[in-house]
């Protein structure tokens, strides 16, 4: 089973990298962008076949290492195969 983990800054946490990317997009002429938030994306290959177990394991991984929950939120997507 594959887990896709998206880690994003919580609402209200300043994201200077997202801001810099936004400015660069604007300077390239992309005018329609209202905001940019930068995050992280991880793919985990798991040998677990039970989705519920897999989700619980990945949630624990996020809480203990992959995300810093003081400033970051995480979202987990699971995919068979």
């Amino acid at each position: 089973m594959k887990a896709r983990v998206h880690i994003t800054l919580k609402t209200g946490v300043l994201d200077p990298q997202g801001k810099a990317v936004h400015n660069a997009l604007t300077s390239l002429g992309f005018e329609g962008v209202e905001d940019v938030r930068q995050g992280k994306y991880l793919e985990l290959d798991l040998n677990e076949t039970d989705a519920e177990q897999a989700r619980a394991a990945v949630e624990s991984m996020c809480a203990r290492l992959l995300a810093n929950t003081v400033i970051e939120d995480f979202q987990i997507e699971l995919e068979d195969g």
Binding site: V13, L14, P16, R64, L65, N68, V70, I71
Partner: protein, 229 residues
């Protein structure tokens, strides 16, 4: 004073702090590799500056999960003094030994220069040789020194006297114009609740002798020697 310095792959200010501890205490610290699980008997445990594990994932994140940190946490809970400088501060927040988090500097630039700090409290093991409100000059050298915490935690650490140092003008005014990284409330260093664990971004170990242009950092080590010797 018996001190131990923890070395991680990517530590690069370890020699600076070893030299400072040796010069001030007259005794060389024990060196402990991050994979070790045992710590020698020590009054003070130091996590030096650097870029442990190449700052992978987040600054300090990998080091905070290394085996030796479990031992450091246990010693801290038992009351040993723990000092984290720069990357050491990042590791202590990631390990949950100190509140808050250190994010990328607000201007996304690596900042490397002398700054001024205001000593918030002179009644701790780390600061007894300073005066409350004293302004000291020490260098910073970091990319991720932007201290942040949620509003509840911030109110708690402000209320409980856990802010150790703030960035200030040479006259001691807390002014955002001299805040080198965007830290909330100008916070440059914090204590844990029991005030036996201190983390700070600046490098007092690099200003301990007049030959370094300034020796304002020396009193921090003298305080520890006086308290722990």
């Amino acid at each position: 004073m018996k001190a131990a310095v923890i070395i991680f792959p990517g530590s690069n200010r370890d020699v600076d702090v070893i030299d400072a501890l040796t010069a001030v205490s007259g005794r060389e610290p024990a060196l402990v590799w991050h994979r070790d699980t045992e710590l020698p008997d020590a009054d003070l445990i130091v996590l030096p500056g650097g870029f442990s594990y190449g700052d992978y994932l987040r600054s300090g994140a990998m080091a905070a999960r290394s085996p030796i940190l479990r031992t450091v946490s246990a010693r801290a809970e038992a009351g040993a003094a723990v000092l984290g400088i720069c990357n050491g501060f990042q590791i202590l927040t990631e390990a949950g030994l100190l509140p808050g988090v250190l994010m990328a500097n607000r201007d996304l630039k690596f900042v490397c220069r002398d700054i001024h700090l205001k000593v918030e409290h002179a009644d701790t093991s780390f600061t007894r040789r300073y005066d409350t409100g004293q302004v000291i000059r020490v260098p910073v050298a970091h990319h991720d020194g932007n201290y942040f915490s949620d509003p509840e935690t911030l109110a708690r650490i402000e209320g409980e006297g856990q802010v150790a140092f703030r960035y200030c003008t040479p006259e001691g005014d807390i002014d955002d114009a001299v805040n080198p990284n965007g830290s909330i409330n100008g916070i440059a260093g914090v204590y844990n609740e029991a005030r036996n664990v201190l983390g700070l971004m600046p490098h007092p170990e690099d200003h301990i002798d007049p030959s370094q242009s300034c020796s304002d950092g020396r009193a921090l080590f003298e305080s520890l020697v006086e308290e722990l010797a």
